[in-house]
């Protein structure tokens, strides 16, 4: 224990440096000694791979940077690299993630342990370079582990945690680390980075166990007939279940070694709260700063920050929901024509039913295409969550839209 305390002191002495989330991710890739990076530029992701290219050019990272002609090829090359046993990384956003979609399923189906960062951005058409969560919500059923992070520091830390989880032989699934495009990707803030030895001691390279090797040829991704395909897909279901415990363990061990941990969900100001707002990425960070104002006016609303989205940390979410009368779920994507048009709200609706929770649900869609949301808007959402304890709101609220 004495050693742990000393380590913590050491941690506190570390000086943060100003980095954007994009730069922080590039630093994580460098500190993880990633072997192969394949990427195609897309706003607002581009500065991630630009910074990595700089590290390679300056000799700070010894890695192969594969220049490709599209995101489809970027992810294909990343998957192939991972299957040869290399530690592989890519980054994308928006249309880039959409173009990767086919390979997203192949990455999880082949159990490629890669990590990809996503600077979340709206989808065309009409063209928008601004932020929302449409890209990642369209990728939620692809067998990827998905994290939403709320700061540049957390992005750095989670990319590192990501490899430890992805490369675990009980998991072997790709990991997506998602954060708000522009609002986070291009915001400069303090970040503590770790030395490579400590990072590699935490996340040692555990290469793909069935790797492509000319000396010992294997076939990967062959035809699976109806007698086997189902079982292979079911193995992903089981790996996802195991990933939940591994993600928890990875976060706790990270906390022990580096003095920072986040939990799989974060319940903020939840004690004595009678209502919750569910939010992810930058909105969660903003709510932490704004909610004390709501409490001053007697609006006792807590924040449930969804950090791990897939696998869904069901027990933790149910535990938080079981202590409140209402929950307001903020979606920054639209599920067109669905019962609730917020995709997350639909999942929470199912969860409330599954566990027989007496919680009133409010579905709110906001921030589409980075529609401006200021502090007072979040205060209004807190009041809305509070009102919902006694007043049912059965339809999705499209906050801030001009009808």
């Amino acid at each position: 224990m004495a050693v742990a305390a000393e380590e913590r002191l050491h941690v506190e002495r570390k000086k943060p440096r100003p980095l954007s989330t994009n730069s922080a991710i590039a630093h994580a890739v460098k500190d993880l000694d990633v072997d192969v990076v394949a990427a195609y530029p897309i706003t607002p992701q581009t500065t991630v791979v630009e910074k990595i290219a700089e590290f390679i050019a300056d000799g700070e990272l010894e890695a192969e940077m594969v220049h490709v002609e599209s995101e489809h090829s970027a992810l294909s090359a990343t998957v192939a690299a991972a299957l040869t046993g290399a530690r592989a990384f890519t980054a994308t956003a928006s249309q880039g993630l959409e173009l990767m979609h086919e390979i997203l399923h192949i990455a999880s189906g082949l159990r490629a342990p890669i990590v990809m960062s996503v600077a979340m951005r709206a989808l065309s058409a009409p063209i928008s370079i601004w932020n929302d969560h449409s890209d990642v919500m369209n990728a939620r059923d692809t067998g990827w582990i998905i994290f939403f992070v709320s700061s540049a520091q957390e992005a750095y830390d989670t990319v590192i945690q990501g490899y430890r989880i992805a490369e675990d032989s009980d998991v072997l699934l790709p990991v997506m680390v998602a954060y708000d495009g522009y609002v986070m990707s291009h915001t400069m803030e303090p970040v503590v980075t770790e030395d490579r030895d400590s990072v590699l001691a935490y996340a040692p390279k555990r290469s793909f166990p069935y790797k492509l090797d000319p000396e010992k040829p294997v076939t990967l991704g062959a035809l699976a007939d109806p007698d086997w395909y189902y079982e292979i897909k079911y193995q992903i279901v089981e790996a996802m279940r195991r990933a939940l415990g591994k993600a928890r363990e990875a976060d706790e061990e990270f906390g022990r070694r580096f003095g920072r941990k986040y939990g799989l969900v974060e319940c903020y100001m939840c004690e004595d709260a009678k209502s919750l707002i569910v939010a992810a990425s930058s909105y969660a960070a903003t709510l932490k700063a704004v909610l004390p104002r709501a409490w001053e006016e007697g609006v006792k609303v807590g924040l449930l920050r969804l950090r791990l989205y897939r696998p869904f940390p069901e027990d933790l979410v149910v535990d938080a929901l079981s202590r409140v009368d209402s929950v307001l779920v903020i979606d920054r994507a639209i599920s067109y024509g669905a019962p609730y048009q917020g995709p997350l709200a639909n999942e929470f609706s199912g969860l409330i039913l599954k566990h027989g929770l007496g919680v009133n649900l409010v579905s709110v869609v906001a921030g589409i295409g980075q529609r401006r949301m200021v502090d007072d808007d979040f205060l209004k959402l807190a009041r809305l969550a509070w009102e919902a304890r006694t007043v049912r709101k059965p339809e999705t609220i499209f906050y801030g839209v001009r009808k």
Binding site: P18, H186, Q370
Partner: protein, 192 residues
Amino acid sequence: MRIDIRWHGRGGQGAVTASEIVAAAAILEGRYALAFPEFGAERRGAPVRAYTRISDTPLVPRTPITNPHIVVVLDPSLLTRETIEGLREGGALIVNTRLSPEEVARIVGLDREVRVAVVDAVKIAMETLGVPIVNTAILGALVRATGVVGLETTLRLVRERFKGRLGEANVEAVRRAYESTHIETILPPQTA
């Protein structure tokens, strides 16, 4: 304790860089800070906004700043009523202009107590850098008028950001602006 700074400039004047240097200085001095632009499809000459938030804790919103403690205006043509929208009573307004603080107050229709600091940043930039890029000069005025970050930290970061001779020229711009900034506390018309 939180200090919110809103920057008004035009594409190419370096408002975003200035917002980042101030945040970096605060981080170096051991505080928490964010710097972010109002994200648009940037083009040279178009009005741009940037934000710097400095705080003792990481609990800060990631929203555009609507109630700044400090407003910095890099281009005098942007001086309108809108520039000071939400500027707090007792706050500061830092302007690159040849006008006096009183004249600036009149143009923006100042109706609350604000410290107005003016500096001819174009002249300083032309004489030190040879180009009308005013962001480093305006930093000198900001530091002088508000002390939001230290002069030495600012100079160190300017030197890191602009390498070699360009760094020294920018350091000179900060220094000269720091020395020549003219500051007046403007009171609301009824009490003046």
